[in-house]
Amino acid sequence: MKSATLEFDALAAAVGALPETALSASRQSALEQLRRRGMPGVREEDWKYTDVSTLVDITNTWLASGARVAAAAAAEPAAGIDADWFTIVNGQFDEAQLQTLPEGVTVERLSSNVSALPSLGRLGELNTALLHDGLKISVDKGVVLERPIGLLLFDQADDGASVSQVRVDIELAPSSSAAFIEHQVSGGDSDLYANVAIRLALGDNASADYVRIQDRGPQHSQTGYHGIELGCDARLRQASFDLGGKLVRDDLVVNIAHPGAEAEFGGLYLVGDGQHVDNHTRVDHRVGPAVSRQEYRGILAGKARGVWNGKAIVHEGADGTDAEQSNHNLLLSQSAEINAKPELEIYADDVKCSHGTTVGQLDENALYYLRTRGLDIDEARQALTRAFAHAIVGRSPIEQLEEFLLGEIDRRLRDLLREDVA
């Protein structure tokens, strides 16, 4: 398969036209990297099942039309979720919202805080090169936040192709604790490619809860990269929910370089006809003892395509590592497809590692049992499918999101079950 190539001259012009800030040097070096390495292609092991050609096409179309960023449209945070929200619209954010903050939290523009941006994944260079500006969120030492911090990532794609870059750098100082909600939504009927790069660094003994909810429109694609660093005894609890989108790729990369760290993460992807959702995870256990646990579940209908790739690397000397990964998939149709791949690489001796992957259909015995109790076939299928999905909601760390998530999941599942019957 021929991979599409970025139009570099147009890209360089777009990068050159961005306002001159402290990020300019980073942009130029990212551009050079991008010129050298290109975009990821299906020949690369990590991108084998996810072809980003369509994203390159959208980007080229957007560049050819002048790389315009639509004026910030209004966006409302998800109803009923109580959080301190920051809204990023088409990759841009309003200065004013940086003022009202809970005590112990600082939010700055990345351009006023950081000069060199670290690389965040294979698409991080595109992100850096085209970045207007990003957010830097810092939680002070010992601060325990009561309300979650919300990141509403909203894109509006109305007139022609639209491309946006979102970058957030979060640092939790030692012994602090905070919860984050990343909610991705989008509107409009044009093609959209949103590229999100988030770094989350936890100091010693810090703890973070992080929930990512991706509910973009059926025409809209996104790639995301979450780079996580854990200090001594730091604790991450994360859950990810892919409900919408056209081509979706998320990388969750956890670096454990300090003992005592714990990372629990996972997610649910509900994928229907015309959608491609890819969750890639990588945990580097560089020292022990430390714990990583992940559980992803997927429900796929119609001609859906799903990918789960969970990699755990236990480096030499990382004794006392406890790594567990599981991935379960429910295929509601014959033509849905999942590529599920657990990868454990172990170079230490004293470790506890396990993985399990399943791909299956609804349990016929359970369906029959429910029908003998008077539930019709659709109700029975829905009950079993919901039960499968709800298990992930049960392990999501931010309790107040539960009702919202259950509602959104049920809404999406009804679509998928209908799609499958149609």
């Binding site: 349990d363 015995n365 359970a366 029959y368 049992y369 429910l370 029908r371 003998t372 109790r373 008077g374 539930l375 019709d376 076939i377 109700e379 029975a380 009950a383 079993l384 919901r386 039960a387 499968f388 709800h390 298990a391």
Partner: protein, 250 residues
């Protein structure tokens, strides 16, 4: 209530029921006994509507309805209840939610209003008390992590809530300790009424000490080979199933 006429049924191409006929009238309790592999469970599944079993000949009529034309859920809504020999564990589907959905599916079919949450809970707790079940079972996944006895009590709880016209209990008594057996019997006896029929499929006579049947049938090789009153069950217990096989073949 239930008329089964000369049915033949097979699963995966092998014939299990070979010309079985049975009449169960309203108000009666029938016990179906027989050795393993005689077709007892097949009979129960055919009446409940399991799609793996193919009925190749004969008829099953329930309240003048041709039962073989109905889906399992339609049969349930018409008032048929099957107590499973091996109740299925369904993690994540809440026991209370299933009970309420089942009850409301039936009520809707009867043109009745859905039961409200308060009434439902009151009724469920009342039935659970009768069966010696802890109310906390309501909030667990259906049969999830239940012991054998707890699963069977849960089947009886569903039956007690749904108040079926025809209940078929497939070896509900097997593997139960004496307390659980008494609870099951209590559930069955409470359901007994002039407008209901109950079919107890059982391998052992023990349950019949607590639930007195009107008729006892002995199944062998897919046919009823002997019918009688409750004394037949005792005779069977005494002489063993070989006696029936010999009688059937001789």
């Amino acid at each position: 209530m239930l008329q089964i006429k000369d049915i033949h049924a097979s699963i995966g191409g092998s014939e299990i029921l070979r010309g079985l006929s049975l009449d169960v009238a309203a108000g009666e309790v029938h016990a179906i006994m027989g050795p393993n592999g005689s077709g007892k469970s097949t009979l129960a599944q055919v009446v409940a509507g399991h799609s793996d079993y193919e009925v190749t000949a004969g008829s099953v009529t329930y309240k003048d309805i041709d039962l073989l034309e109905l889906e399992p859920e339609e049969r349930a809504r018409e008032g048929i209840f099957l107590g499973f020999q091996y109740p299925v564990e369904i993690p994540g589907v809440n026991n209370a939610v299933l009970l309420r959905s089942a009850l409301n599916a039936k009520r809707k079919h009867q043109g009745l209003e859905e039961i409200d949450a308060f009434e439902f809970l009151k009724l469920a707790k009342e039935k659970m008390a009768m069966l010696g079940m802890d109310p906390k079972f309501l909030n667990r996944g259906v049969n999830e992590g239940f012991s054998g006895g707890e699963k069977k009590r849960n089947e009886i709880l569903q039956m007690a809530m749904l108040e079926p016209s025809l209940a078929i209990l497939d070896e509900t008594d097997s593997g139960l300790d004496i307390d659980a057996l008494r609870a099951v019997a209590e559930g069955v006896n409470t359901l007994r009424s002039p407008d209901r029929a109950i079919v107890l499929v059982t391998h052992y006579q023990r349950l019949l000490d607590y639930v007195e049947p009107d008729q006892v049938h002995v199944l062998s090789e897919g046919r009823i080979v002997r019918s009688g009153d409750k004394s037949l069950a005792l005779e069977l217990e005494d002489k063993g199933y070989d006696w029936v096989r010999e009688a059937a073949n001789g």
